[in-house]
């Protein structure tokens, strides 16, 4: 097996080994700490070294040098490649200003646009949530015992007890913090699960939406049937637009994710799923942000001793804001609708 004029492996290694060792040392350092910690000189050295080692790898493959050498160069190029080809957008490498800009753009432009682009899924999700909610409330108002089928009786009685007292006493600061923490853990968790289980053809999301709808409807119906309807309405009016809206958006994202597998169009099912997931994750982030706000309102405001009229006014304003935001935000932006990639 004669190879066209090429140096021997030994001569090749002797000649090139300095570059390899330099790149090796740099990549190890960068992987161990972070790229940011490298000096500007070291960063500037990376691309030329990487290109040279790529060329060496190609040359050693063509010259059919021994497997350990080729493996070594492969490992070297692979780890440098991981370092050099970072994703665009939010990453540790971007500046605080860049991250702030991406965050603002995500919230005011990409998120509402993505919601509107998936309006069918979102409408379906709203239906799957609010229709069971209405049915649950109606059934419970007709026969309060229905609520016990979907929610533990003890919990319902305790809840009713709490709402009967009204909010004149307000809520202590400590309890507010505790409840806000509880809402974050519980509600954001539900929303993320509701989205994730959409991967099974949307069935998981549909199940969660319907289940939550019925439970919430039955709870509202039961508390109302026990005569504390006005109180619970006063309680939920502040945060419900954000909280229920976010659950619907998360569920709708899950439905959309599932539908991308069921009906992939021109793509393979996997490619369709991956593309949709990338487009839709911003809605999940947005829904999580909405739930964080809702948790703050629910923890610190909804049970406060503020007058009922003020609470209703604030609730209405928030509802209008959420509706305007979802329908109008990000329509007039100079960039195209691709969102922060």
């Amino acid at each position: 097996m004669s190879v066209a004029s090429n140096v021997t492996e030994k001569a090749f290694v002797d000649r090139r080994t300095r570059d390899w060792e330099e790149l090796d040392a740099l990549t190890r350092k960068a992987h161990a700490t972070r790229l940011r910690k490298l000096s500007s000189h070291e960063v500037a050295r990376l691309p030329p070294l990487y290109r040279n080692v790529c060329a060496d790898l190609a040359a050693s493959q063509v010259a059919r040098y021994s497997a350990p050498l080729v493996d070594y160069l492969r490992g070297l190029t692979a780890s440098a490649h991981t370092l050099l080809y970072a994703p665009a957008g939010l990453s540790v490498r971007s500046t605080p200003q860049g991250m702030w800009r991406a965050l603002r753009r995500g919230w005011f432009v990409s998120f509402p646009r993505a919601v509107r682009a998936r309006w069918r899924s979102m409408t379906l999700a709203a239906g799957l949530f609010f229709i069971p909610l209405a049915i649950g409330a109606w059934l419970t108002l007709r026969d309060p015992a229905f609520a016990f089928r979907v929610t533990p009786e003890a919990m319902l009685r305790q809840l009713t007890e709490a709402y009967t007292h009204g909010f004149d006493a307000g809520r202590g600061a400590g309890e507010s913090v505790m409840m806000a923490g509880f809402y974050i853990n519980n509600n954001v968790g539900i929303a993320l699960r509701c989205f994730a289980l959409g991967v099974f053809g949307g069935l998981g999301s549909a199940f969660y939406l319907v289940q939550n709808g019925i439970t919430i409807g039955a709870t509202l119906g039961y508390v109302t049937s026990q005569g504390a309807g006005m109180n619970i309405l006063t309680f939920i009016v502040g945060h419900s637009s954000l909280e229920l809206g976010a659950i619907v958006l998360a569920g709708g994202s899950g439905l959309s994710l599932g539908w991308s597998v069921v009906s992939p169009g021109d793509r393979t099912r996997l490619a369709s799923l991956q593309k949709r997931a990338r487009e839709i994750i911003v809605i999940v982030f947005g829904a999580a942000a909405m739930l964080l706000m809702a948790a703050g309102i629910e923890g610190f405001w909804s049970a406060s001793s503020a007058p009922r009229t003020v609470k209703f006014a604030v609730g209405t304003v928030l509802f209008v804001l959420v509706a305007l935001y979802v329908t109008l935000a990000g329509r007039r932006s100079d960039d195209n609708g691709e969102g922060a990639r």
Binding site: R51, Y72, M178, A277
Partner: protein, 272 residues
């Protein structure tokens, strides 16, 4: 249970990544579980101290309730944000760091926030019905051992390999004149023969001389016969043939063609 996957870079260089199997990833996950459980335990300890410190100062109720709220937030963070934060920034969680794993996209690039969020939010689906059974089934069905989260985010977990640099094979000692006299000018070895001889030459030092000769004899006979070259020491025969086949025609002269001025050869050791 590990496999390779080829990835082509923009430079048209093909990398092979070793894909991490379920076993390694399970170990990494257990380590991560220990890490965040320990963090939670430390937080609880701090809170207990805070409550003890606040006792009898009129704020004990507030401290207890606020601690409960913070603890719930911390539980949420460990469940949903721990992996996302680590993987979006460093490409690996502490558990993966210990085991030596890295999450990359199926194109071999580092993952960003979106991919990290997708693959870790989808844990809720992978963990169904319990103990990641859905995820393991999914891994068994995909060539890159991807769980559902990996499929959705187009990521894979690899074992970054830093192969140690191996010295180039050299003919030691260089060929003696009497060996050169009969060694053919042009020797051609096929891929398998070449790989086998190369592996043998690299491993020779670790083998006993008797075993080395026994192994070398298995292939030295047929090859020597084919190219018409005889040598009393089969291992030496392979080394000579390999050097000539691989290095003949290279621009700097292979050792078997190098001018030679050493003391006369020692008496050839008889292997048998």
């Amino acid at each position: 249970m590990d496999a390779d996957v080829a990835v082509e870079s923009p430079e048209h260089i093909v990398f092979r990544y070793r894909i991490a199997g379920p076993a390694r990833r399970c170990v990494a996950h257990v380590i991560d579980w220990f890490v965040y459980s320990t963090a939670l335990a430390v937080l609880v300890l701090v809170m207990i101290f805070a409550m003890a410190g606040a006792r009898g100062q009129g704020v004990s109720g507030f401290v207890a309730e606020a601690s409960g709220g913070l603890l719930l937030v911390a539980v949420f963070a460990t469940q949903w944000l721990y992996f996302v934060a680590w993987e979006a920034t460093l490409g690996r969680s502490p558990g993966k760091m210990v085991v030596g794993l890295r999450v990359v996209t199926t194109e071999g690039r580092p993952i960003g926030l979106k991919a990290a969020a997708l693959r870790n939010f989808l844990r809720a689906a992978d963990a169904l019905p319990t103990a990641y059974i859905a995820g393991v089934i999914c891994m068994a069905m995909t060539s890159r051992f991807q769980r559902l989260g990996d499929l959705v985010a187009a990521t894979m977990v690899v074992v970054p390999e830093h192969a140690a640099k191996a010295a180039a094979l050299d003919l030691v000692p260089p060929a003696y004149p009497h060996e050169l006299a009969t060694l053919p000018e042009d020797i051609s070895l096929d891929e398998d023969e070449r790989a086998a001889i190369e592996l043998f030459l690299r491993r020779r030092r670790g083998l006993g001389p008797a075993r080395a000769n026994e192994l070398a004899a298995m292939i030295a006979g047929p090859i020597g016969e084919r190219i018409g070259f005889r040598h009393p020491d089969p291992a030496r025969l392979l080394a000579l043939v390999y050097d000539r086949a691989v290095n003949a025609g290279r621009t700097d002269a292979p050792a078997s063609l190098r001018s030679f001025s050493l003391p006369p050869p020692p008496p050839m050791q008889q292997a048998r």
